[in-house]
């Protein structure tokens, strides 16, 4: 009898909890979707009701395709460069220089602390002047890259370099957390004992096991670069967010439609990445977006 009562109470409690959970879920969904739906409605509403003509205008606009493709290229280049630079570095530090990790932890937070405008002015200052100390500290790279024929000042390559710095916190945190979640040292030693060298161990043992972390890092870098406005504006490079801003000033309906298009594009990228991760065998790993922020 008592057991039956206990079960009934437990069921009631579960039902009550489930009810509260649902309310929170619905509230969060409303919070997230209302701005999107409003933008969507605003974007496709003309003076005489629903109007899809803005879509036609967008697709026929030469700047749309041009800026979108430039932003995609920048995002892709920044993502690849940051992951390719930072992943082996963190692996190396974890393996051989564990004492340096606290320093990397602090360094990786600097881009969060320094506003983009500071970085932009810093970069302009470094690459436009000819400071002897900077020339020496950069091992001759700054004078090489700030003069023809390799000049990168105010060009997309410099923007990519700046984006790599901006992406450092996401990439570092995400990949560091992944590397710490696997037994990096022991897996590496196991691989060495089986005849594998450092690079091959990194590529065939470590990389597949931190794949979810790399995807997270890539995803965050990609989406950050796709929406980055300040640096590209200061470097006078005509990217998609600048196009969006300009369009918004001329025609708010068109800007709203563009925002929706941009959102859909990002959503496709996110879904593609999720599917890519889920399909990998032997892993229960999930994308660790939380690790990055």
């Amino acid at each position: 009898m008592q057991t039956t009562q206990a079960v009934a109470i437990a069921q009631r409690q579960t039902r009550a909890r489930f009810g509260i959970d649902k309310v929170f879920l619905i509230l969060v969904l409303i919070y997230l979707t209302v701005p999107l739906i409003s933008t969507l409605v605003f974007g496709f509403t003309g003076s005489h009701g629903i109007d899809f003509s803005t879509l036609g205008q967008i697709f026929s606009d030469k700047d749309f395709a041009q800026t979108l493709s430039l932003s995609l290229e920048l995002a892709l280049a920044s993502t690849l460069l940051s992951v390719a630079l930072i992943t082996p570095t963190i692996y190396w530090v974890q393996l051989r220089l564990p004492g340096v990790r606290p320093l990397l932890d602090i360094l990786s937070l600097i881009p969060f602390a320094a506003p983009a405008i500071v970085m932009a002015f810093g970069l302009v200052e470094v690459y436009s002047g000819s400071n002897m100390l900077i020339n020496v500290l950069s091992l001759g790279l700054v004078p090489l890259l700030s003069n023809p024929p390799f000049n990168i000042v105010n060009t997309p390559p410099l923007l990519v370099c700046a984006y790599v710095v901006i992406a450092l916190p996401f990439v570092y945190r995400s990949i560091d957390a992944s590397l710490r979640s696997i037994n990096t040292r022991v897996l590496t030693e196991a691989s060495y004992s089986l005849g594998c060298g450092w690079w091959r161990t990194f590529l065939t043992v470590i990389l597949p096991n931190i794949w979810p972390g790399i995807i997270s890092a890539a995803l965050l870098t990609f989406s950050t670069v796709m929406g980055e406005f300040t640096l590209s504006s200061l470097f006078s490079i005509y990217t998609f967010p600048i196009y969006l801003n300009q369009t918004g000033q001329e025609d708010p309906h068109k800007a709203a439609s563009l925002s929706i298009l941009s959102f859909i594009l990002t959503l496709i990228c996110v879904l593609a990445i999720f599917l890519l991760v889920r399909r990998r065998p032997g892993q229960q790993g999930e994308i660790e977006l939380t690790a990055a922020k």
């Binding site: 696997i182 037994n183 022991v186 897996l187 030693e189 196991a190 691989s191 060495y192 004992s193 089986l194 005849g195 594998c196 060298g197 091959r200 043992v205 597949p208 096991n209 990998r280 065998p281 032997g282 892993q283 229960q284």
Partner: protein
Amino acid sequence: MAFLELTELTKSFGRVTAVDAVDLSIERGEFLTLLGPSGCGKTTILRMVAGFETPSAGNILLDGDDITTTPASKRAMGMVFQSYALFPHLTAAENIAFGMSIKRLPKERIKQRCAELLELVGLGEKDRSYPHQLSGGQQQRIALARALAIEPRVLLLDEPLSALDAKVRVSLRNEIRHIQQQLKITAIYVTHDQEEALAISDRIAVMSKGRIEQLDQPEEIYNNPRTVFAATFVGTSNRFNALVVAAAEGRCRVEQQELHVPPLTNIRDGASVLVMVRPEEVNVQKEGALPNSGANQIAGTIILRTFLGPFTRFHVHVNDETTLTADVPSQYARELYVAEPVVLSFAADACQVLPTDSSIKEAEKITESEKV
């Protein structure tokens, strides 16, 4: 020359010397265990042999070749880790095949050898399982197969059973020994578990503070420990700090009690010694029972009785400072209870006498003066 030779092998981490000028020779096909408490340097030696640590001094010779500075990936040493270290993204069969594919063996050969090794470790049907789908014991079996797949010159095992439960530990250690003997492979095994070491090894190196205290066969280590550390670390023992009264007659004194030990040759009268008796050598009889044949008799009271299956362990309170342990076959322990006054007895031959540090120095001095 032995198959694997470590000469004056030393490893320091800053000011700490983890391994202190260790000399060790291991024969081909031998199963050698490095036994000692944590921090004694046993794992560091194994890691230096594997190539994961560079020695601060000394050499490692394998089959006559100096491999001290050879990278780990070129040493062909199969390693089994405490944490299994299976590659999580690969199946059991792929893990085993990993080393062979690095060696670029033909695919057919790899497939055949994988199947053989899976059968050898008794996991023929688990070839497609991922590590997270296997139990700890199964993972360690796969790790063993993976290490054997590269046909290692030496198999290195770093506390491979520590993470497993007691039952699996015993069965897997027997399997490891069986496979090692079957394949006649040279193996170095690191453990802090004395029972494991005694059960599995051809020889045991008992280690303390970066040095080898005693290198011997398991029986010798247990029955004739050469140092106080080896005597206290391996097995359970009753220990008495005694003074030698008459060395030639084998008489010592512990407080007011006289102890009969085997005649002592290298120790002088008046030297302080450690007398050690294994619990299984101690008989327990009720007070007032028939006189016991043991040369040494000590009266006491049972304070704890622990039934351990084939034998029962008694903790007997002798005086305020001394509690002795006796293991009695369980069929003779039925009528002995807690709080009962008893007499403990043991033969003189059952006693092992070891000079304590001061008496070692004294013995060295005597030897020196005799030489002069």
